[in-house]
């Protein structure tokens, strides 16, 4: 038997108040081992206070080919940004 251990994606919360951020991947037989290995591979210097692991196979991603269909529609909706509405200089705190 020589099957490879599954691949896991690793996410680390670096400080209280910040979101978990993807840092890389590693191989492990289960979630518990993935967390232990992530501790050694990705947090040797206090880089984190919390670890998430997810099987790479369970991650679904948008495809680069869909980039235009997905993201272009928001390009022309400039009114979603506050700068679209110029305010008179005399109006404060807005």
């Amino acid at each position: 038997m020589s099957s490879e251990w599954p691949l896991w994606e690793i996410f680390i919360r670096s400080q209280h108040g910040l979101a978990h951020k993807h840092v890389g991947s590693l191989h492990a037989v289960d979630a518990q081992m993935a967390i232990r290995n992530a501790r050694d591979v990705y947090t040797r210097r206090n880089e984190g206070i919390s670890i998430w692991v997810a099987r790479s196979a369970d991650i679904h991603a948008s495809s680069p080919g869909d980039k235009e269909a997905l993201f272009e529609p928001s390009n022309d909706k400039v009114y979603r940004h506050p700068t679209f509405f110029p305010m008179p200089d005399d109006v404060k705190h807005i």
Binding site: S3, E4, W5, L7, S25, L26, H27, D30, M33
Partner: protein, 330 residues
Amino acid sequence: MYAQMVDTGVAKVRDVAEMTQEERAFQDRIDADVKVEPKDWMPDAYRRTLIRQIQQHAHSEIVGMLPEGNWITRAPSLQRKATLMAKVQDEGGHGLYLYCAAETLGVSRDAMVADLHAGKVKYSSIFNYPTLTWADIGTIGWLVDGAAIMNQIPLCRCSFGPYARAMIRVCKEESFHQRQGYDIMLALCRGTPEQKVMAQDALNRWWWPSLMMFGPPDAASVHSAQSARWKIKLLSNDELRQRFVDQTVPQADYLGLKVPDDRLAWSAERGHYDFGEIDWQEFHEVIKGNGPCNRERMQTRIKAWEDGAWVREAALAHAEKHAARERQAA
């Protein structure tokens, strides 16, 4: 460097007229410093070259643990031992960051390990030299990690996202490696006459192999030109080597050690150190497998892999049993 003489598989650098529309769009994005991500379209040659390059780099980190690991049990103090263990563990981590970057290109970890063990993919020539005394550990940190930093800092800007991100992580950790090495050299050079002799002996043996790490002159190499075009090689071997010499010679002077090169001299005209001829014959012999430790290094890696097989299998079987039990309980 850690990836020496990477073959791009191309016979000449393609110019714009020869490129397909896809290739042209790809090159335009690279020219505009847009990072390539794993799922983006990329030319096959780019993918294959990166797999080779990142893989060679990863293997170098892993094989590079062996010469230093050799001294962990004999470090002269508990502090030095803890430091060396941390350093060697970092190198293992560097190998893992890099393997995972290569895996995003569609090559499996097992396939990479198999390629290393079959001798199909190389690792850096430098790790085929023996570590004879404690001073070698100081010299490796100072020179070998110093050379690695020189090479890896530009790679933080390379075009492939996962490789660039791995390099940023690696570079944050390397400066500790270089400093702990220089600190060992400082202690030896401020110590007894015998310690100073030991330090000089280590420098004598490691100086030339360290310069060889950057690889043969590549100004005229088609592979280097193609890699430069793709921004996966950002500076030429000779440029990096010159920077390394310029940076390192004053550090040797400070230690009161003599760099073993009679032709080494500051050139006011060039604003750089001139240095002697490198023995490329030796380099090619080491790359071919005939260095002092090539066989031993490979035997050690293969033995570790084979001896660990039952652990990998048992851990997987155990996890599968647990998962099955949980499914039943649910």
